[in-house]
């Protein structure tokens, strides 16, 4: 029997049942590896349901530091009989099946080319505990203890995690410690050397943090000065609003009065949520909503209003699998067109694409500056993979000398001084007009905000020329935006190449790994990671500097390529789309394979042409 042997480089996958309490045990397993200084990446795969359906938890252990999804499974822990067959089938040859051997299973339930490790988990838990709930929960800790022993995870690290987890509920610490020990002892006694996978202490985690993107973006909103949040629950964005609430409670309560420097409302739906954000933005507060595809669809009319009436507003789109209700608990990057061109009529919006929770924090905070500077809706395009999974990333940082950029707001003093005010007047030549906030001055600067066309002084007008004047300014404002949005990040390949690759968002981690593998195969690609739309000029320059550019996206219709072609006036023939859209996070393996295949074809074509 071949045995996969690997140290700090493998994938463990847990299969559980929704609501069975496995999540925190699995999470503890993962975190223990991190505490040993070994980078990990975890991914939850869960159903749109509350209790009783299958869930999976994938832990990638990567001493090399790859935190994208790799693909494949080295060690499977199938705790859910419903999905047993599929789970067993998913193990790489030579890999390991760790299972609850309390009840005998027929040989047909196993495979010949994998290594089977049985531990009588239920039996052990049941013989030690009486209450059904205890038995269920502690069984989870038994397998964690057993796995830790198998893989060489330090027992003390796990014990310490248990203590941290149950701090305050101290009576739970003992049984959990015991469960870990029961599992560990069994392995140490009966299964020595059964598994070729090992975790070994390293120093590769450094000061990095392990956090999910929704939590990070919520914290970014706190740092970015958001005071108003209006939202409606929808997976996978709910946890961002809830995290904002939690952070605010810690960070934004006035220490003296105990009053809140924030207002969060759970709206009755997404139309109401975005309406409140626009009302607050109009009134000079920094406001946001968090939602997902169906919410974005419902918000279209209001987004058009915010575009045309030029109201600062921030929308977090935690993308999930579309169209329609689609795959609510799966990940995609498929709301790009509907956000970039949101609303009927001619519109274009500003989108930001964080690559991980660290950047989600940064771009989230930045979004509020951009919204006020550009007087426009700003979309922060996350996805379920970043938003709801914990990622290992650089710690958050903040520059205390920076003040919020509140954009062009005329004050009482400005008005008093007699500064000319025209709400839609392009005074500075950057197409961004000045605004006044309600209540500023008793006799000057009041105007009427509307979604209908109006002249530079905000007066209603149905004149063609007046309308065109305004619409062209709005286009120019988008040009201005290119200067303010975060610029793309480019990397040159080690060797000069005529090939490039463009990617963005949660693809980043898998991409880094894929590039490394490709390079080792002799495939060199210059890279550009997009961070915003509209595209700063260097994006178009990057494309023009290469014969062929791969565009890697997690959607069916190559939506980012559409934006590139359309806004960059680029020949589509220049682009080769690499599309992954089955709802699972894209893997390094998928990218590597897709690109190498295309490169082989291109190479063949070139050779043929040369003949």
């Amino acid at each position: 029997m071949p045995k996969i042997e690997a140290t700090n480089d493998f994938v463990v996958k847990f299969a559980n049942v929704n609501g069975s309490g496995s999540a925190s045990a699995n999470e503890m397993f993962a975190r223990s590896i991190l505490r040993m200084g070994v980078p990990i990446a975890t991914r939850n795969i869960f159903p749109s349901n509350i209790q009783g359906l299958p869930t999976w938890f994938e832990v990638r252990v990567s001493g090399a530091g790859w935190i994208g999804r790799r693909g494949g499974v080295d060690l499977m822990v199938p705790m859910n009989p419903q999905t047993w067959d599929k789970d067993v089938a998913s193990i790489d040859p030579g890999g390991y099946l760790f299972y609850d051997s309390s009840k005998p299973l027929p040989p047909s339930k196993f495979r010949q080319d994998i290594n089977v490790i049985g531990v009588p988990l239920t039996e052990m838990a049941n013989s030690r505990w009486q209450l059904p709930r205890d038995r269920q929960l502690l069984k989870n800790m038994v397998y964690v203890g057993a796995l830790a022993a198998l893989l060489g995870i330090e027992q003390e690290t796990l014990q310490k995690l248990v203590e941290e987890q149950f701090a305050g509920k101290d009576r739970l610490i003992k049984p959990n410690h015991e469960a870990l020990k029961i599992g560990g002892d069994y392995v140490r006694e009966k299964l020595k050397g059964a598994c070729g996978l090992t975790v070994k202490r390293l120093d590769k985690v450094g000061n990095r943090i392990f956090v999910d993107g929704n939590d990070a973006a919520a914290l970014g909103a706190v740092y970015g000065g958001a005071t108003v949040c209006a939202w409606y629950p929808i997976t996978p964005s709910t946890s961002m609003a809830e995290a904002f609430m939690a952070h605010c409670k810690k960070l934004r309560v006035d220490s003296v009065t105990k009053k809140n420097k924030f207002a969060i409302i759970q709206a009755e739906d997404e139309l109401s949520a975005i309406g409140a954000v626009i009302g607050a933005g109009w009134n000079g507060a920094r406001a946001f909503t968090a939602t997902s595809g169906p919410g974005i669809s419902l918000m279209q009319e209001f987004i058009g209003l915010a575009y045309f009436a030029e109201i600062p507003s921030v929308i977090f789109d935690i993308q999930r699998g579309g169209p329609s209700t689609g795959m609510p608990t799966r990940t995609q990057q498929s709301d790009i067109l509907i956000t970039a061109y949101a609303g009927h009529g001619d519109t274009k919006h500003i989108l930001l694409f964080p690559e991980d929770p660290h950047e989600a924090f940064e771009l989230s905070a930045m979004a509020f500056d951009l919204a006020e500077r550009l007087q426009a809706p700003i979309f922060v395009m996350q996805d379920l993979d970043i938003g709801m999974n914990s990622w290992l990333c650089e710690p958050f940082s903040w520059n205390d000398s920076k003040l919020y950029d509140r954009g062009k707001v005329m004050t009482y003093e400005d008005l008093e001084k007699g500064k000319e005010f025209g709400r839609y007047l392009d005074v500075d030549g950057d197409a961004i007009p000045y605004r006044t906030l309600p209540g500023t001055h008793p006799t000057k600067g009041a105007f009427f905000t509307r979604g209908t066309s109006r002249d530079r002084y905000a007066k209603y007008s149905e004149e063609g020329a007046v309308y065109v004047d305004n619409m062209q300014r709005l286009l120019r404002k988008l040009e201005t935006a290119k200067k303010y949005v975060p610029h793309p990040i480019a990397h040159h390949a080690k060797e000069p190449t005529r090939y490039g690759v463009i990617y963005f968002g949660s693809t980043s981690a898998a991409m880094a790994e894929a590039l490394d593998v490709l390079e080792s195969k002799g495939i060199h690609l210059d890279t550009m990671r997009l961070r915003a739309f509209p595209f700063p000029d260097e994006v178009i320059e990057f494309v023009n500097a290469h014969d062929q550019v791969f565009v890697v996206e997690q959607n069916r219709d190559a939506q980012m390529r559409t934006l590139l072609v359309n806004e960059g006036a680029i020949d589509p023939a220049r682009f080769i789309s690499i599309l992954h859209y089955d709802g699972t996070p894209i893997t390094a393996r998928f990218i590597t394979k897709s690109i190498s295949e295309r490169m082989t074809l291109l190479g063949a074509a070139r050779r043929e042409a040369a003949q």
Binding site: N260, A263, G275, V277, W282, N283, A285
Partner: protein
């Protein structure tokens, strides 16, 4: 009505109020509504109320949806910021505005189409959330701006030139009472004497105040088959009370028959003096009010007056426990926890 330049001498006596503002300072652009439209009378009443209350015009924020009614904020309080948002969604925009700055007076102006048809959900939800505002529907039973289709407040059997309404009407007053509004009134655009004090009382009410104003559409719904026509409302108007709005306690001097007058002191010290026209009507009892209204509506009466008042209104800001200063006035220093705090937070994620 007209497109002509604003006439110069409309108010022979421009008596300034306490703040030194004259009536003119509360006006807006010239109306572009049809001559005789009820909505214009409501604008006039709003101007009058703000003038009499000595409100600084720029401390008012006017918000509306889309419709003839929703255009009207352009026609009063020209020194106030206005927001003509999208159809049926003013309530959410107003909610957000209110959260951002608790210090302004919020005036939501809407139509029956805007609030009872497309906007019904937002209407009810904004009220149940206890937003401190005055919410006025200029209720004509039709969509004026799109040329006269029935709206959801048209009574069953209402007739227009081309059709009859078969659907049950939406009772906005009933909805507002059900949803927990703390100030509910109905009035008639043709009755300025009733309307102005109601608006004043609503503005001084620190909670969700809703006023449904029947406001005939002379263009499309002023005919014999309509229950929203001038004639119908005049004939069926059943006022339960008359309101005097009194700013300060010491202004009260006259003596009244016991039982005919009810006085309520509001939080800001203002007094609402209700002259009972129906002695059995008690505007402090929500359930009673609903029942009374339903019974009288079934008889074809248009019950007007201050229908319900909770002198201890709720306000979202209290529920949310927000700071006393407007959120929009907080700057980087007040809002940003800074890099120090971030270090601790980073640790939590390790």
């Amino acid at each position: 009505m007209t497109y002509l330049a604003k006439p110069k001498f409309r108010h022979p006596s421009l008596v300034p109020n306490k703040l030194g503002f004259t009536h003119r300072d509360y006006e807006g652009s010239i109306s572009t509504l049809c001559a005789g439209c009820g909505h214009d009378s409501i604008s006039t009443a709003l101007i009058q109320a703000c003038y009499e209350l000595d409100i600084e015009p720029h401390r008012v924020a006017k918000l509306s949806g889309i419709g003839c009614s929703s255009k009207t904020p352009d026609y009063f309080l020209g020194q106030s910021h206005g927001f003509n948002s999208v159809h049926g969604r003013m309530p959410s925009v107003l909610t957000g505005a209110n959260l951002a700055n608790r210090d302004l007076i919020y005036l939501g102006v809407s139509g029956d189409g805007d609030s009872a048809s497309i906007g019904l959900g937002q209407f009810v939800h904004c009220i149940r959330r206890a937003i401190n505002m005055v919410y006025i529907t200029e209720n004509n039973g039709v969509y004026g701006l799109t040329k006269g289709q029935f709206s959801a407040t048209a009574d069953r059997g209402s007739k227009s030139k081309t059709s009859v309404n078969n659907d049950a009407p939406i009772d906005l007053i009933g909805m507002a009472l059900l949803a927990g509004a703390t100030f509910v009134a109905r009035s008639f655009s043709g009755d300025k004497h009733q309307l102005v004090p109601i608006i004043k009382a609503a503005i001084s009410h620190k909670g969700s105040a809703f006023i449904d104003v029947i406001s005939p559409c002379v263009q499309f719904n002023n005919g014999a088959g309509s229950t929203k026509s001038y004639d119908f409302v005049r004939e069926h108007n059943a006022a339960v009370n008359r309101l005097d709005f009194i700013e300060e306690r010491d202004e009260i001097t006259a003596e009244y028959e016991p039982g005919t007058v009810q006085e309520v002191e509001q939080h800001d010290g203002s007094i609402l003096r209700l002259h009972k026209l129906h002695l059995d009507y008690d505007p402090s009892d929500r359930v009673h009010a609903m029942n009374y209204l339903q019974q009288h509506h079934e008889k074809g009466e248009v019950v007007t007056g201050l229908l319900y008042l909770d002198p201890e209104p709720r306000d979202t800001h209290a529920a949310l426990n927000t700071v006393d200063v407007p959120l929009n006035s907080l700057g980087t220093r007040e809002l940003c926890p800074g890099s120090k705090a971030l270090e601790g937070i980073n640790d939590d994620y390790r």
